[in-house]
């Protein structure tokens, strides 16, 4: 087990700048999830941590020791690849014991460790099979087991669940989480599944175009996204982003049609500033009175737990999620209100958060 420290990590592929100035620390035993849109550099970052890619600048420390200049084989980390990367010519047992064999453990030692891991992962009946005779979920567990038997300094996962069906994914998710709680191993986990990120992470790192956008606990990111990108990326369905003008006299964010929403107390804004007023779909309040902005219902999608309503609000499309069973139909005019405490305000220029 070990801490991981990244300091100003840079990675170029020729002229392409894949990782830009990435600095953050991971505590011992922490479970950190990397998220971000496709191509933002998640895998690249993970691979540089594992030593499969060289970095072109900065330093990486593992357990206090500088590792960016040493080879993958000497870093003592384990990695689980998206497609599992099992050795096709080895049985499950040999796959799991391979790292132990390479480092010179004795056969009884190896077998004991593999048996223990196999039991934990319910792989015991498959130990003598070859990978091609396993299901996706079983292969995935073998890949996990292979990482577990070594008790490495850190675990790296690159979208390990993305090839599984939804039900299995949920199962494996809790299994990995449970495993992490049992082993307490420092882990870095790449995913672009929101739910995975939110449920598993101690902290989430949001990446975009090779840069860190925000680092924080899952709920911190959800409740206080630092910028428009994180606001739109975390949460599903995504946050509504309304273009507004700040009207400091009435402490409001004004929409194009003149209707307005109150600013959250403590918002640092200039009068007349262009801003983005962000509201999560489930934070809309349907008001029957005269307060609130008028909107026209366009589409209604009941999901059971809630009703998703798409509406036109001052020329912008918004999505609302109501838990109550309002009797609405397309074409209705509704009044939408907001509790300012739940709203997020961002500077339109810098895209940074300006509400507290």
């Amino acid at each position: 087990m070990a801490t991981i420290e990244l300091d100003k990590v840079d990675k170029h592929y020729g002229a392409y700048h894949a990782l830009r100035d990435i600095s953050f620390d991971i505590a011992d035993g922490e479970f950190v999830v990397l998220v971000g849109p496709s191509g933002c550099g998640k895998s690249t970052l993970l691979r540089t941590l594992a030593g499969l890619e060289d970095i072109t600048g900065g330093t990486i420390r593992l357990g206090g020791q500088r590792v960016d200049n040493i080879a993958a084989k000497d870093r003592d980390v384990a990695m689980v690849f998206q497609n599992y990367a099992l050795y096709p010519h080895m049985t499950v047992r040999e796959n799991m014991a391979f790292a132990l064999k390479l480092r010179g453990d004795t056969l009884p030692d190896r077998n004991a460790k593999v048996d223990k891991a196999a039991e934990m992962l319910r792989l015991t009946p498959y130990l003598d099979r070859y990978p091609k005779a396993l299901s996706g979920g079983q292969r995935q567990r073998v890949a996990m087991g292979r990482a577990m038997v070594r008790s490495p300094k850190a675990f790296f996962f690159d979208e390990p669940l993305s090839n599984l069906d939804a039900a299995l994914r949920v199962d494996m998710r809790s299994e990995i989480k449970a495993l992490h709680q049992r082993l307490g191993a420092t882990s870095v986990y790449v995913t672009h599944d929101q739910i995975e990120a939110m449920t598993m992470a101690d902290r989430i790192v949001v990446l975009r175009d090779g840069k860190v956008e925000q680092i924080g606990a899952p709920l911190e990111l959800y409740d206080r996204p630092a910028n428009i990108f994180v606001a739109g990326f975390i949460g599903s369905p995504a946050m509504n982003k309304l273009s507004v003008k700040i009207d400091l006299k009435s402490n409001a964010a004004r929409l194009a049609d003149g209707s307005s929403f109150s600013l959250p107390p403590g918002t640092r804004a200039r009068d007349g500033q262009d801003a983005i007023y962000g509201i999560r779909p489930d934070h809309w309040i349907l008001s029957r009175g005269d307060q609130g902005a008028p909107a026209t219902v366009e589409l209604i999608e009941p999901t059971g737990a809630e009703i998703l309503v798409a509406a036109q609000l001052a020329g912008q499309r918004v999505l609302c999620a109501f838990r109550e069973r309002h009797a609405l139909k397309a074409g209705d005019t509704i009044a939408l209100a907001v509790d300012p405490a739940t709203a997020h305000v961002f500077d339109k220029q810098t895209e940074q958060r300006i509400s507290p």
Partner: protein, 292 residues
């Protein structure tokens, strides 16, 4: 039912050709092998000899030596070509090698040269008193290199010539195999702590097994049948130093017109080849899950 009949119909021409050029000659050789038949003998007709040809073969030192020599030759060239081919394949696949594309293109040129031309060219290079190889070996190392008189020189030159001619084929085939290898297990092996040698031995070789097996088969069969190149180079000499089995059979069948004995030799050689291939196949696919 109808479908499968039509399938056979499509296969018929190929089967027929195979039967005519493959199976009938084989039966004919099997038949001839039981006779004493030499068209230049006093009695040029087929005379029944039973198993006499085969019995003679077992005591024929020239034949047995030639067979052994061929096996040694084949073993040396196949192993060397495999090692050399692998190193070259890795080198030509390395990102950093300067002029890689150029070498990739020209290194295959020897393959397209006809064996007879290869033999002739090497003959010219090696002829004592004329070729540049003996000249420089003498000049630089003081070696009296002479393939017409020194058996070791002749045998060695035959090997080097085969390496020159066929290593590119092995390189090409291994390059194809290496390119097709999945990248992830190799990366996983690095993460698992494998050094280069361990990754090569425990991961690359087993995953490359089907390609290795095919390549070794092709090269082994070729090496066992090597005739024209060596004939051009040394005519099998000096004495019988480079008289490989194909050449030996040819000399018996054509210049000597000893058809019955030649047929018997061919069959025995075929038998040895089959056993050898089978052993090789068993050795390489012995473990399940390896070659798929």
């Amino acid at each position: 039912m109808r479908r499968s009949n039509i399938g056979w119909l499509f296969l018929a021409p190929a089967t027929l050709i195979l039967f005519v050029v493959g199976f009938i000659p084989f039966l004919y050789i099997l038949y001839v092998g039981f006779f004493d038949w030499n068209s230049n003998a006093v009695d040029p007709t087929l005379r029944w000899a039973g198993l006499q040809n085969y019995r003679n073969l077992v005591f024929d030192a020239t034949f047995l030596n030639s067979l052994a020599r061929t096996l040694v030759f084949a073993f040396i060239v196949v192993v060397s070509e495999l090692l050399l081919g692998y190193v070259l394949a890795r080198a030509l696949m390395a990102d950093r090698l300067w002029g890689r594309q150029f070498f990739r293109t020209i290194h295959t040129l020897p393959i397209v040269v006809a064996p007879i031309a290869v033999g002739a060219t090497w003959r010219l290079l090696c002829v004592p008193g004329f070729g540049i190889i003996p000249y420089y070996l003498k000049l630089w190392f003081g070696i009296d290199y002479n393939i017409s008189t020194n058996a070791y020189h002749a045998f060695g030159t035959a090997i080097v010539m085969d390496l020159w001619h066929w290593t590119p084929f092995v390189t090409l085939s291994l390059m194809a195999g290496l390119t097709a290898l999945p990248k992830e297990p190799l990366e996983q092996a690095q993460i698992d702590g494998g050094n280069k040698l361990q990754i090569f031995w425990y991961v690359i070789v087993p995953m490359l097994k089907p390609v290795l097996l095919t390549t070794v088969f092709i090269r082994l069969m070729d090496a066992l049948r090597s005739v024209d190149e060596v004939w051009m180079l040394t005519k099998g000499g000096p004495a019988e130093a480079t008289r490989f089995i194909g050449l030996h059979i040819w000399i018996n069948v054509f210049p000597k017109t000893d058809y019955g004995y030649g047929a018997a030799m061919s069959l025995l050689t075929l038998y040895v080849t089959i056993v050898l291939s089978w052993l090789l196949f068993v050795a390489m696919t012995g473990r399940k899950g390896g070659a798929q």
